[in-house]
């Protein structure tokens, strides 16, 4: 029904869909705050949230309110920001590189960001002057540069970009493993392993503030380039012939992508497949025009990631799976499907 609405109806229905997605997002966030090792009734959850926002001042169990607001709300909103950001990155990369399989994880950018973050964390590189997010950002940029270099510019064939990404991911994963195995003690290794697979544990409000503002800012910038991204449909030369200043546009958008990826990796770790699968789902629902596709990807990505987080906490009783495991369990089959359906260039 959603597909029917999206394809046929004019702008009022599309706004309605966007509104529905927002309401659904609010719903799953509240659900996420209520579900957990200690189940908290929805009414208490809601009251805790309004208390936390400072709208109300209801008398509540301090522990319950603390769990909902300090722990679960920040976690749910971080999941939403992360899903939105990664989906945005995937949409941008798929358009710029004209490749259905492009996304931060597949292209090794997440791996690069992990290496950067781990290097700063364990080796103390930068003498404390650069923090983990900065390390992740530099790692993401390095991975980006490597992929573009290996693929000899985006003019090359679509397979080469992906092969270059695979090579970059291998290289950076090896570097990360090297750093971790030589410099971390057993306790550190375990927590880093967990974080590398994607973990929303330990997320606090300042992290959410950072991630959300980066995603919102990045999203607004990308939205200004929506038409420009459409013009890339037939390649960079075709975009240039349509009046797009290709080199600066590519630089700006790749930087935004690297920045968002780096922020997410430094807080949540490398979460795969969200950036790959969500843009395809959004395109399937709303079509290829980026003015609609970008907001749709962001909303679907946010919803998906909060739901994935809920799943990661309830699949195995008394245990929290890394979020990256859950997204990969859904993402890998979807990846295979896309690979199978991807048309050879004609």
């Amino acid at each position: 029904m959603i597909e029917w609405l999206a394809a046929r109806a004019g702008w009022p229905a599309r706004w309605l869909l966007a509104l529905l997605a927002l309401i659904m997002l609010a719903g799953v966030v509240i659900l996420a705050a209520s579900i957990g090792e200690m189940p908290i009734p929805l009414s208490v959850t809601l009251a805790s949230i309004t208390n936390g926002l400072g709208i109300t001042d209801l008398p509540l169990d301090r522990i319950q309110q603390g769990i909902v607001w300090q722990y679960r709300m920040s976690r749910a909103l971080m999941a939403a920001s992360c899903g939105a950001g990664l989906a945005l990155c995937g949409t941008i990369l798929q358009a710029l590189l004209r490749n259905a399989l492009a996304e931060p994880y597949v292209l090794g950018i997440s791996a690069g960001a992990s290496t950067g973050a781990v290097t700063v964390l364990l080796l103390g590189l930068g003498g404390g002057l650069i923090g983990m997010p900065m390390g992740a950002f530099l790692g993401a940029l390095a991975a980006f540069a490597l992929v573009i270099l290996l693929a000899a510019g985006a003019r090359s064939s679509t397979t080469r970009v992906i092969l270059a990404g695979v090579a970059a991911a291998q290289l950076f994963n090896a570097l990360t493993a090297w750093v971790v195995s030589t410099s971390a003690n057993a306790e550190q290794s375990r927590s880093i392993m967990f974080w590398l697979l994607g973990s929303l544990g330990g997320v606090r409000w300042p992290d959410v503030g950072l991630a959300a503002s980066i995603v919102i800012l990045g999203g607004l910038i990308c939205l200004c380039f929506a038409r420009t991204l459409d013009a890339f449909a037939f390649g960079e030369d075709a975009a240039a012939a349509l009046g797009v200043a290709v080199a600066p546009v590519r630089l700006i958008l790749l930087t935004v992508t690297a920045l968002i990826t780096a922020t997410m990796v430094s807080i949540v770790g490398a979460v795969g497949f969200v950036g790959l699968v969500i843009p395809h789902a959004a395109r399937f629902l709303i079509g290829p025009g980026h003015l609609r596709l970008l907001p749709a990807s962001v909303l679907i990505g946010a919803n998906f990631m909060v739901l994935a987080d809920i799943l990661s906490r309830i699949i195995v009783p008394q245990q929290v799976l890394p979020i990256g495991v859950v997204t990969a369990l859904f993402g890998a089959p979807a990846f295979a499907l896309i690979l199978y359906r991807a048309r050879p260039s004609t």
Partner: protein
């Protein structure tokens, strides 16, 4: 609007691909760009479209030098139809043609009735009015070229550059497409392989060989047996067709006995 290239030179890996080419396309003239594979036709078109920057030399569009000109200003006056446009995106005909409005629209300016009018007009002109919602991937080669031509026309250019637009098309679609381009009466440069089509549809021809311009003029002065032999290495006889009055090239290879 005239288009001029002056002493254009472009190197790739220390090899000159376009070597000291000077040409002028007069307003409303259809110029045929001939030459064997790898002679530099596509590169010359890319230089003229300002998609590559020449190492030396300059391009002028009317009285506007193209160097340091914003891409958007160029795209409003000059459109390019590539040889073989491909996309991964699942676009429909209408969406491809709408791309032609890109240089006329700001990043957030909504779609205007004027844009819609232009889209409808160009689709009608290329005979695709009834196919607006067809998916690009379901189109035949001839239809795709017409969509790309409509997209180029939606840019409302004064100059049109076409890189072997008739490649991979059957003969009917080749003739239709070239006749259509002729009717547009824009200043156009068409890279072509087929010498007979060039003689039929172009006002003037230029011939490139190993990056250099080796002949220029009306079909009658350019298409001589000597030049065809020199550039293509083929023996040919050229005569005026008694049927359509244009030049006709007959190739004379070693034929098996008829």
């Amino acid at each position: 609007m005239s288009l001029e290239g002056h002493e254009l030179r472009w190197m790739k890996h220390q090899t000159p691909i376009v070597d000291d080419v000077t040409l002028t396309v007069q307003p409303h003239e259809t110029l045929g760009l001939l030459g064997p594979n790898g002679s530099g036709k596509s590169s010359l078109l890319q230089l003229l479209a300002s998609l590559r920057t020449p190492d030396t030399g300059r391009v002028r569009l009317g009285d506007m030098p193209l160097r340091h000109q914003s891409r958007r200003r160029i795209a409003r006056r000059l459109a390019l139809v590539e040889q073989h446009a491909t996309t991964e995106a699942d676009l429909c005909v209408e969406e491809v043609v709408q791309l032609g409005r890109t240089p006329h629209r700001g990043p957030l300016r909504p779609w205007q009735p004027e844009d819609e009018r232009i889209i409808r007009q160009v689709l009608e002109r290329v005979g695709l009015a009834g196919m607006r919602r067809r998916r690009w991937h379901t189109l035949s080669g001839g239809e795709r070229q017409r969509v790309q031509l409509a997209r180029a026309m939606a840019q409302q250019p004064e100059v049109l550059l076409l890189d072997e637009p008739t490649n991979h098309l059957d003969i009917q679609h080749q003739l239709d497409l070239l006749a259509l381009i002729r009717r547009l009466a824009l200043t156009s440069v068409i890279a072509l392989h087929d010498l007979n089509l060039a003689a039929m549809f172009c006002d003037r021809l230029i011939v490139m060989h190993r990056g250099q311009l080796v002949a220029e003029g009306t079909p009658a002065t350019v298409l001589t047996p000597a030049l065809i032999h020199e550039v293509y290495g083929v023996t040919a006889v050229v005569e005026r067709s008694p049927h359509h009055g244009r030049l006709q090239v007959h190739y004379l290879p070693d034929l098996p006995p008829a």
